[in-house]
């Protein structure tokens, strides 16, 4: 190359380069995200939502350290802060993450199903009848919202899940939420088309819309009965409607999330148990079952390894007290409760029977097809049938029911109120559904629950259990920064943001 050629070559190269670097037409392709899908099948969303729902309410944190501790179904062997109602632990380990998970995973995926169905029913319809899909999504949202509001009280509801339009959602009071949930369930019930295909991806009923209708109406009963002290007429009407439309009266119709037998799709409690031994039985429940000769004792818990007898671990110990309790000396959870495919029980026949028993007591002019006692007995039967898986005969169960400490009429004659009788057996039957057991304790005030052994109040005779047991969970601290104005308004309206502020439905 001579000098002249070099010069012209250089000029061409330089011009070429300028063209090369200023070309941006493949930028759009380069910035196309290859890591995340941009469309989502409503079936995939539903399975995801159901799994998130179950994982987040049945795992070792929300249920293990929180729900089952609040209901005193379990006690802690170590890291006992939550069982002693430590506000710091409850807030940082439970409130912060689960508030986020309930809204951001479960509710959001369900909302996305509703959005997709509305936006493009033709595509969404490939995964089942769109009305049925919408009904299931709405129902599961109510299921989740009720747990959220029963845990915290006032929460974002009507303005929630509108991330792009409403970055700072206002909180609704609990009454508004309850009325809203009831309306949603009515809509869902109206949408269900039993002759059309149910949603694909459904892990609860496999798309069986007849069973879904029962679930919708049973949930309507759960919602209605919980607000019965405050909205008598509405609750009464809802329960009659639900009963007429059909509810879960047999275990075959139970609403449950069916875990698989291997990780990562096994029950989260199983996975936790593989590496941690933080929870054992609670003496609150063990002593209760022992006193009643309750055959469920051996299905709920395992005998203590050292003695072969049932010894409940003392509820609410300090870390030091817990540390000096040897695992082998106390009853642990039963093999079934910690097994891989133990289902997440969401709403079962036992509970519905107890609701009907209570409805009969509250309103004697309803048509419910049975008496309070017959539904009370049926609730115990359903619970024992489920736990014993048929190993208990009807006679065994009837013998149990005939005991003076269980017999409905005998207890009444002895002066017990229906709230105590039904609430107490319902609490036993709600085992593993921590938040539900705790909610019924708060609502029906049947006693039973103990003060935490490791708190100063344990030895303070002036303090009864109902003076110290938490009535709600503190809001997650991040709400104060991320949604400050609405958060402050909610606290101002509801009362101090502590564990002892009473929820709306919780009549004193």
């Amino acid at each position: 190359m001579n000098k002249r050629k070099i010069k012209s070559f250089s000029g061409i190269v330089l011009l070429g380069l300028l063209g090369f670097v200023s070309c941006t037409k493949d930028f759009e392709e380069i910035n196309q995200n290859p890591n995340n899908p941009v469309t989502a099948s409503t079936a995939f969303l539903l399975t995801s939502a159901q799994k998130s729902l179950a994982d987040n309410i049945f795992d070792e944190w929300f249920n293990g350290r929180f729900g089952n501790q609040m209901a005193q179904y379990w006690a802690s062997n170590s890291y006992t802060d939550e069982s002693r109602f430590s506000t710091s632990a409850l807030r940082t380990r439970i409130a912060n993450p689960y508030w986020r998970l309930h809204y951001n995973t479960t509710l959001q995926d369900l909302q996305e199903i509703i959005r997709s169905v509305d936006a493009d029913p033709r595509v969404a319809g490939l995964n089942g009848n769109v009305d049925n899909q919408k009904a299931v999504a709405m129902t599961l949202q109510v299921y989740m919202f009720q747990i959220i509001t029963d845990t915290w009280g006032a929460v974002p509801y009507s303005q929630a899940l509108k991330g792009k339009e409403i970055p700072f959602p206002a909180y609704d009071d609990q009454r508004t939420i309850y009325l809203g949930m009831l309306a949603s369930l009515n809509t869902a019930n109206g949408l269900i088309k039993e002759n059309e295909p149910g949603p694909n991806g459904d892990q609860m009923y496999g798309g069986n819309m007849t069973q879904w209708r029962k679930f919708v109406n049973s949930l309507k009963m759960r919602v209605a009965i919980r607000m019965a002290d405050k909205e008598d007429a509405l609750a009464k009407q809802a329960i009659q409607e639900a009963y007429t439309a059909g509810v879960i009266l047999n275990n075959a119709d139970n609403g449950q999330f069916n875990y698989l037998s291997s990780l990562p799709n096994a029950n989260p409690i199983y996975e936790d148990f593989l590496t941690r031994k933080d929870f054992a039985s609670s003496n609150t429940m063990v002593d209760t079952l022992k006193n009643l000769n309750d055959p469920r004792l051996g299905y709920y818990y395992a005998p203590a390894q050292a003695s072969g007898t049932f010894i409940g671990e003392v509820y609410g110990m300090t870390d030091g007290q817990a540390a000096s309790t040897t695992l082998a000396d106390v009853s642990q959870r039963s093999i079934r409760v910690i097994s891989a495919d133990f289902p997440g029980i969401m709403l079962d026949a036992a509970e519905v029977n107890f609701i009907l028993a209570e409805a009969g007591e509250r309103w004697n002019d309803l048509t419910l097809g049975g008496t309070p006692k017959s539904y009370y007995d049926a609730g115990i039967h359903a619970s024992m049938d489920f736990w014993a898986e048929g190993a208990l005969s009807s006679t065994d169960i009837n013998n149990y029911i005939a005991q003076p400490g269980v017999d409905y009429d005998a207890l009444k004659a002895a002066g017990a109120s229906w709230k105590q009788i039904i609430g107490f057996q319902k609490w036993i039957a709600l085992y593993t559904q921590g938040v539900q057991g705790w909610s019924e304790y708060r609502r029906l005030d049947f006693g039973v629950l103990k003060k935490a052994r490791g708190l100063a109040s344990f030895n303070d005779v002036t303090k009864k259990p109902e003076d110290v047991i938490p009535l709600r969970l503190i809001y997650p601290s991040e709400e104060a920064t991320l949604n400050g104005v609405n958060f402050a308004a909610a606290v101002a309206a509801q009362g101090t943001n502590n564990l002892r502020t009473r929820l709306w439905w919780d009549q004193q």
Binding site: F20, T24, I30
Partner: protein, 1105 residues
């Protein structure tokens, strides 16, 4: 072209035999006869240049067509030498006023230092390798004014450097590393958990692949203006690294240098432990329960508090309690049993038989029949002061380098091979690194010059210690029992079943499986991680000389690597067994073309200018696979051994930036210089209508001393003032524009799962913008015996793009926004003094100091704070409006009006109800000081560096107190007498029926409760510490032997004794090293499970032929 390729091939292939390029060598001395070390030799009109070595010798390649050398040295008149026939040119410089030090600036351009309108600090190779580290970043500690360098103590771990403060809320705040024009990736692909102080391995920052042995010089461009030409990433500053080039001369066309460094590394210090109490939750917890009887020491009947009767018993500590609040070591058996009986109402029968014998007990390893040495045996209850110390081994590092250089007037060549091996102080930990590099150039014709350089590095790590709060083996500064003998733990598995782990915190007599965390030896030997990074970076360039002042240069640069990380959890570990393989593949290619002009317009005016373009293509792939549900076959670490379906992350990220840039530098009369630059970028990551951004800079310098009278110049020999202003744009991460986004989740059985992603993207993003200015001066006094450099700077970064948390009740947890701005301002000073200097002896002192003020100026409406991370348990690190970046936020004590801490009626401190800002991780000021004494070939040098201020949260201190391990938990009788926390009762406190509000606290609480409830777990402030330190970083004695000793057959031979990290002379945080980096990311200020700092002592031997 063909001829060119053939020539190039030939040059590269035939090592050491080269056609001659002209190389000139010689010695530079001062007019007093002493040889000048570090004098600059540049070939006029080219970018070729070098510095003299410790003997004042140099060797430089002179491209064809050049025939003038410019030799300069601080305090001496710059001299130009026209080359004649001889290739040996010795120069004597006259002490004088003229200065012409040259430095390497942006884009590798050599500039006269006095022409720079911005601050630049240069470091030569010798300074860098004299006290070797495995990481080039940590080697810079204390040497650069304005750099905050935080190095971890992890083997091959991270070092973080930030210049002039943190600029970005999220995203990278570290400077760009450039080696011979190649931008070097410095990623730190660490997990969010590792960075915040939860379990993880620190794999280090990727710039540690740069081999210090190959470095000729480093220029640190601190401000945005120096960096405007490198693009957005340079807004944090640039570390411009120039590698050694080959030289040779007729006398010696090929040279060989061998250098070896050998260091012995030991743990420098450990926390102060208490040695008075053993394991367990309370003073009376050695219990005879849960363990079978066999040949115990005590034989008597015993009834425990449950009423169970034992016919014989042994005392057994509570191994299920992970702490040391147990019985005192000085208890006697009789006294102990009496106390135990009283407390529990039990009877031991006649205790007189025990007399005053100390307690003996059955240790954890006495219950397994496969351990016959210990089975059934009791031992005395006593402390093991060195149990943690003895876990650590002697570490060792050897680094060996051999390099070949060659050159002639047409070509040059340097090849280098370095092997580094380091044995860690943790058992079974090692690091290996092999580097091969080649640098070559060829003047093919008068008009065409080509250069080619590449480096291949292979990095292998094994058994890096896990950091953070976790179940890892080296957890014993958080949880342990003080009576444990570490030697016993070496027997960590059942010999007849290697999947059965054996550890001290066993649940029962017949089950040696640990309750909480793995035996440290099990962790080290049964589940070490492995990693390997294979990397290549290099450049190829062609320069066409168009005429005497115009040239065209084209370059292609690449940096690519594959990194494989394997993590293992053995069957038999506390966690579910697992094997994961994480593969990162990164490539970055840059292509640029520049037209350069360099012309002396008249006697007084000179101009240097260029225009060019660049394309950057970056691609990152990550393929992470992990077994789920455990491993089928124990010991078989392969993805196919997964019991359940694999967990998969399959990730690809691409980015392209196109740029055009230009620069004009004007000089007038060697006195006034002005630089103008401009650059425009187009980035693929921004919205189409906002993806172009322009950034200009202007810089000027004025040499005041040119106007000085000769008299004044005698005392103030040089004075310069400089000023610059620059603006730098910036883009963002890929894929932040378009919605909707879903995430795939692992299938549920055969059902696929898809969930809505938690992030809202933003189609309206605009580029970030940093505007900065600086002014500075450089003054030299008394023939340069005193030099002072001072800079003041200010930088404002606006339109920061960040992921902002959003209330999850919206269905999303975050959104991408242009969120706000951060301002940094500060001063940098460096002062060098030569108090004493003769022909043979010199004493010099250098000090540098920098102070940076940082503030998050404003955030958009509705956002008060952006959380960077939440530390385990107690605190978080945030960017809060009105506070410094990196503010640690957590609960504080509450105080009365007089500043007394408030306690409640139970005697515990009252925490603030919500988290509050506690302090920033950024230092108030940083710096270093060196001093050197040189006598002929012998020199002694010492480097100290310091940081004042900056906060850190120490999880090790928090748990160390809670678990009763640390000395303060056993001082002053606190365990026996309890503790009265210093403070006053809060309003409304009632004690024994009396209102004690505002009175001094008199309520005593148990020590174990005090060290939990009154510490960082509940009140983050209690374990927040000042991270100030003063460290004796390096000390070195070296001896360069005279050449004549070896009949001139050896070019140089030097021997040094070196110490590194010798001592922490001052610190404010107890028990840990305040330089507590866990990773190199923005999440700093969390110390958790820090691995102990190592002290290195060793020697270097260098021989050149």
């Amino acid at each position: 072209m063909k001829r060119l390729l053939i020539t190039l091939f030939w040059v590269l292939a035939v090592v050491g035999v080269s056609v001659a390029q002209r190389t000139v060598s010689g010695t530079v001395s001062g007019d007093d006869g002493e040889n000048l070390i570090g004098a600059t030799i540049s070939v006029k009109g080219t970018s070729s240049g070098t510095r003299t070595d410790v003997n004042g010798r140099y060797s430089v390649q002179v491209p064809a067509g050049s025939n003038t050398l410019v030799i300069s040295y601080t305090g001496y008149s710059t001299q130009e030498v026209t080359l004649g026939a001889s290739d040996v040119v010795d120069v004597e410089l006259a002490a004088g006023l003229q200065l012409e030090e040259t430095v390497v600036t942006a884009l590798g351009i050599t500039r006269s230092e006095k022409a720079l309108g911005y601050s630049l600090q240069a470091i030569n190779a010798e300074e860098l390798t004299r006290a070797r580290t495995t990481n080039v970043v940590s080697a810079l500690s204390g040497k650069i004014a304005g750099a905050q360098i935080t190095s971890s103590s992890n083997l091959g771990g991270s070092s973080r450097i930030i210049l002039r403060g943190a600029r970005a809320i999220q995203g990278n705040n570290q400077p760009l590393f450039v080696v011979d024009g190649v931008p070097i990736d410095n990623s730190n692909f660490t997990t969010a958990d590792q960075a915040r102080g939860a379990l993880g391995y620190d794999y280090g920052n990727a710039a540690q692949d740069i081999n210090p042995d190959d470095i000729e010089s480093i220029s640190v461009l601190k401000g945005a203006s120096a960096a405007a030409l490198y693009g957005s990433r340079a807004a944090n500053g640039v570390i411009v690294i120039t590698t050694k080039k080959g030289t040779g001369n007729k006398r010696k066309p090929v040279g060989v240098t061998f250098s070896t460094d050998n260091y012995f590394n030991d743990v420098a210090f450990l926390p102060n432990y208490q040695n008075s109490y053993g394991g367990g939750p309370d003073a009376l917890n050695i219990r005879p329960r849960g363990y079978a009887d066999n040949s115990g020491f005590y034989k008597t009947s015993f009834t425990d508090d449950d009423g169970t009767v034992y016919s014989s018993f042994d005392l057994v500590p509570d191994y299920s309690y992970d702490g040391s609040w147990g019985p005192a070591f000085n208890s006697t058996a009789k006294g102990y049993l009496e106390g135990f009986a009283d407390a529990n109402g039990v009877s031991f029968g006649d205790l007189s038989q025990y007399g005053g014998t100390p307690i003996t007990y059955r240790p954890w390893n006495s219950w397994d029949s496969y351990d016959p040495n210990n089975f059934g045996k009791s031992i005395a209850w006593g402390p093991q002061p060195d149990n943690i110390k003895n876990y650590y081994e002697h570490g060792f590092m050897t680094n060996n380098n051999i390099s070949f250089t060659g050159g002639s007037e047409k070509a040059y060549f340097r090849g280098s091979y370095t092997n580094l091996y380091q044995k860690g102080t943790i058992p079974n930990a090692s690091l290996r690194r092999n580097s091969v590099s080649l640098n070559s150039g060829l003047q093919a014709t008068d008009y065409i010059a080509v250069t080619l350089g590449f480096t291949y590095v292979q990095n292998k790590g094994r058994g890096r210690g896990a950091t953070g709060y976790n179940s890892s083996g080296s957890n014993f500064n958080q949880w342990f029992q003080r009576q444990l003998n570490i030697e016993d733990l070496k027997f960590y598995q059942n010999p007849s079943d290697p999947t059965v782990q054996r550890s001290w915190n066993r649940g029962s007599a017949d089950d040696a499986f640990p309750l909480y965390w793995d035996n440290p030896y099990w962790w080290a030997y049964e589940r070490p991680q492995n990693d390997q990074r294979d990397r290549m970076f290099g450049n190829a360039g062609v320069t066409l000389k168009l005429n005497s002042w115009l040239s065209l240069q084209g370059r292609a640069m690449t940096d690519f690597y594959t990194e494989v990380r394997e993590e293992k959890i053995a069957v038999g570990s506390v966690d579910i067994s697992k094997y994961s393989k994480d593969i990162y593949t990164l490539s970055e290619n840059n292509y640029d073309l520049m037209l350069r002009a360099n012309k002396q317009l008249s006697n007084k005016f000179s101009i240097e200018a260029f225009v060019g373009g660049n394309r950057l293509d970056r691609k990152l792939r990550r393929n992470f696979n992990s077994t789920q549900g455990g491993l089928g076959t124990p010991g078989f670490y392969n993805l196919s051994n997964s019991i359940s379906a694999l967990a998969v992350t399959d990730f690809t990220e691409r980015k392209r930036i196109n740029s055009v840039f230009g620069s004009v530098s004007l000089g007038f009369n060697n006195m006034l210089y002005v630089d103008l630059t401009g650059r425009n970028d187009w980035s693929s990551t921004l919205p189409a209508d906002n993806n172009s951004y322009f950034y200009p800079s202007v810089a000027g310098s004025f040499i005041l001393s040119e106007l000085f009278s000769e008299n004044l110049a005698k005392s103030l020999s040089f004075a310069k003032i400089r000023a610059s202003w620059a603006q730098v744009g910036n883009d963002t991460d890929p894929y932040r524009i378009l919605d909707p986004v879903y995430n795939s989740r692992p299938n549920f059985g055969s059902n696929p799962l898809v969930t809505v992603a938690g992030l809202i993207n933003n189609p309206n993003l605009v580029p970030e913008k940093t505007s900065s200015w600086e002014v500075g001066t450089e003054l030299r006094f008394l023939k340069n015996r005193i030099t002072l450099d001072a800079t003041y700077y200010n930088a404002l970064t606006e339109n920061q793009i960040a992921q902002v948390d959003q209330s999850s009740t919206t269905g999303y947890t975050g959104r991408i926004l242009n969120v706000g701005s951060i301002e940094n301002s500060g001063i940098e000073l460096s002062l060098n003094v030569v108090p004493f200097k003769t022909k043979n002896f010199e004493w010099s002192v250098g000090v540098n100091f920098a102070r940076n003020r940082n503030k998050v100026v404003d955030l958009i409406e509705g956002v008060q704070s952006i959380r960077l991370a939440t530390f385990p348990f107690s605190a978080s690190i945030e960017a809060r409006e009105g506070e410094a970046y990196g503010t640690i936020v957590g609960t504080d004590f509450t105080y009365d009006a007089n500043g007394n801490k408030l306690v409640d009626a139970d005697g515990f401190y009252v925490a603030t109800p919500t988290p509050v800002p506690l302090g920033s991780v950024l230092a108030d000021f940083t710096g270093g000081a060196t001093t050197a004494l040189t006598y002929r070939g012998v020199s002694l040098s010492i480097l100290v560096d310091y940081q004042k201020g900056g906060q850190l949260f120490s999880l090790s201190n928090m748990w160390g107190k809670y678990s009763g391990l640390l000395e303060e938990t056993a001082e002053n009788g606190v365990r026996e007498n309890g503790i009265i926390a210093e403070g006053v009762y809060e309003e409304g406190s009632v004690v024994n029926g009396e209102d004690v509000s505002g009175q001094p606290n008199k309520t005593s609480v148990a020590a174990i409760d005090h060290f939990f409830v009154n510490q960082g777990y509940f009140i983050a402030r209690a374990d927040l510490y000042d991270a100030s330190y003063l460290k004796l970083r390096e000390a070195r004695v070296s001896w360069s032997m005279p050449r004549k000793w070896f009949n001139n057959k050896v070019e140089n031979l030097s021997l040094s004794l070196v110490g590194r990290n010798l001592a922490i002379l001052f610190k404010n945080v107890p028990n840990i090293d305040p330089e507590a980096a866990l990773s190199a990311g923005n999440v700093q200020g969390s110390e958790g499970g820090q691995l102990p700092t190592e002290r290195s002592i060793g020697f270097n031997l260098t021989v050149g032929f």
